[in-house]
């Protein structure tokens, strides 16, 4: 069997917009460092969400103009942010109690790998000599009511990030429920990936050929 040519997918910004569209109005949301941060820029008009940042704020706003940067007002990625009306500050134990206690409705995280039972690996490739760093990833994976992954479907060398079993060190077990990628969106149900939407030029045949998974086509089921 030959793997077909890699199709064109969505840009990072376009995937961020797909994730943003899936966030319910009024939700308390934590956006992980890296690509998920961009989700905040794509929330639909009229939707109001509370953005939580692990370093002690609820009601995080957009990036400031450069002349308004405040080094005491940053997000988990140490980027300058602002505070919206209704914002509040709290210390780190309260901030992580918020996550661990199930008060964050949804978090969006990047991934190295996601398994079909929802295991997430996103903090270490286990490479010898690498300096391990976990930050708040495990707390979010464990504590958020819903863990959504936003990632490229394939690594640069074409290796799928959606897998039967993660080979990298885990961040959390059976925690991911949805995955948004450049080529499609998936829900994890009963230990399998279900394809909800296809993005760009990809088709189911290519996805099945590329991913070594027992992939459910939830689009068809919806149509019957």
């Amino acid at each position: 069997m030959t793997t077909p040519q890699r199709p064109t997918g969505l840009s990072r910004a376009e995937v961020a917009a797909k994730v943003a569209a899936a966030i319910p109005d009024g939700a308390c949301v934590n956006l992980g460092i890296g690509a998920p941060t961009a989700v905040a820029d794509h929330l639909p008009d009229g939707v109001e969400i509370m953005l939580h940042t692990e370093n002690g704020m609820l009601g995080m706003g957009a990036a400031p103009a450069p002349e308004h940067v405040d080094p005491d007002l940053i997000n988990a990625g140490k980027q300058a942010v602002t505070a919206v009306l209704g914002a509040s500050y709290f210390h780190h134990a309260d901030s992580f109690a918020m996550m661990r206690g199930g008060h964050v409705d949804l978090c969006v995280l990047g991934a190295y790998q996601v398994s079909q039972r929802g295991d997430l690996a996103n903090w270490s490739t286990g490479a010898p000599g690498a300096i391990p760093a976990v930050g708040g990833a495990m707390d979010l994976a464990t504590g958020a009511r819903e863990v959504v992954v936003m990632t490229d479907l394939l690594t640069r060398d074409g290796t799928p990030k959606l897998v039967q079993d993660c080979t990298y060190p885990l961040t959390g077990v059976a925690c991911v429920t949805r995955v948004f990628t450049d080529h499609g969106a998936f829900t994890i149900t009963d230990g399998r990936f279900a394809l909800d939407e296809i993005y760009g030029d990809a088709d189911v045949r290519w996805l099945r050929a590329t991913l070594d998974l027992d992939l459910v086509d939830a689009r068809q089921e919806d149509q019957t």
């Binding site: 450069p66 940067v69 940053i74 780190h92 134990a93 300096i131 495990m138 707390d139 885990l170």
Partner: protein, 251 residues
């Protein structure tokens, strides 16, 4: 009379001993007690165990303490950053130990130490390498690991303002680890931009009650809030910042 004010950083730090376990406040540069750390470098204590969310940024503050060879062990959640070259080098050379702790577990272990809770069950990290070797237990159908309180000899933290009782307020996300670290050390030393008269802080808005603070020292407004050199990775939309800024306008 209760008077926790110290005239100088030197005086505030004089008794820190070699081998001390020190909680150092801050998340990146926000809330990092840079002036106290500079004082600690000058003071000379070595063989330290330092607890901080990160492991230093750039070449100042905690990174400078590491570069001076004073730290035997770091306990942190996120040592690897784009500007953590000092720690990276020492770690690869085997010159500093690392205990990696998920950030929320780190915070809760510190809070537990201050609250007289010696150990607690925690769901974070179950099934991952960071739970290996830890005692575990199923509670309410879910597996948890047993985590222990993380107490220290000293806490060095940074607040916005204090009074002579040691009451503290913080500024925005610079609050982060300060309030919990203050509770978990035998001796807590706080640097603040300003020491105010007793009664000037709103009792409803005091974040750290004075009982948790042993010494306060005024360092003035921190110049790096304005100098445009935002060591610690502060960026705007992911781009490093290169121009002077003011702090008042942000909201």
């Amino acid at each position: 009379m209760i008077d926790k004010r110290r005239d100088t950083v030197t005086e505030a730090l004089e008794d820190i001993h070699d081998g001390a376990v020190i909680l150092v406040g801050g998340f990146g540069r926000a809330g990092q007690p840079v002036e106290l750390i500079d004082g600690l470098i000058a003071q000379g204590a070595r063989d330290l165990t330092v607890v901080n969310n990160n492991a230093g940024n750039g070449d100042t503050g905690l990174a400078a303490l590491l570069a001076a060879g004073r730290v035997r062990k770091m306990v942190c959640s996120f040592p690897r950053q784009h500007d953590s070259w000092v720690f990276d080098g020492l770690y690869r050379a085997g010159e500093v130990e690392l205990e990696l702790v998920p950030q929320g577990t780190l915070a809760e272990r510190i809070r537990a130490a201050g609250a007289g809770i010696p150990a607690f069950y925690c769901p974070t990290g179950v099934g991952t390498p960071l739970a290996e070797g830890k005692e575990s237990r199923v509670i309410d159908g879910r597996e948890h690991v047993l985590e222990h309180a993380l107490a220290a000899d000293y806490a060095l933290i940074a607040g916005l303002a204090a009074d002579r009782w040691g009451n503290l307020v913080f500024r925005r996300t610079a609050r982060n680890f300060g309030p919990i670290m203050a509770t978990a050390a035998r001796t807590t030393i706080a640097q603040v931009d300003e020491i105010v008269e007793l009664g000037a802080l709103d009792p409803e808005a005091i974040v750290t009650p004075g009982v948790h603070v042993d010494r306060v020292v005024e360092v003035g407004e921190r110049p790096w809030l304005r100098d445009g050199a935002f060591v610690g990775g502060v960026t705007v939309n992911g781009e490093p910042l290169s121009q002077p800024t003011t702090k008042e306008a942000t909201a």
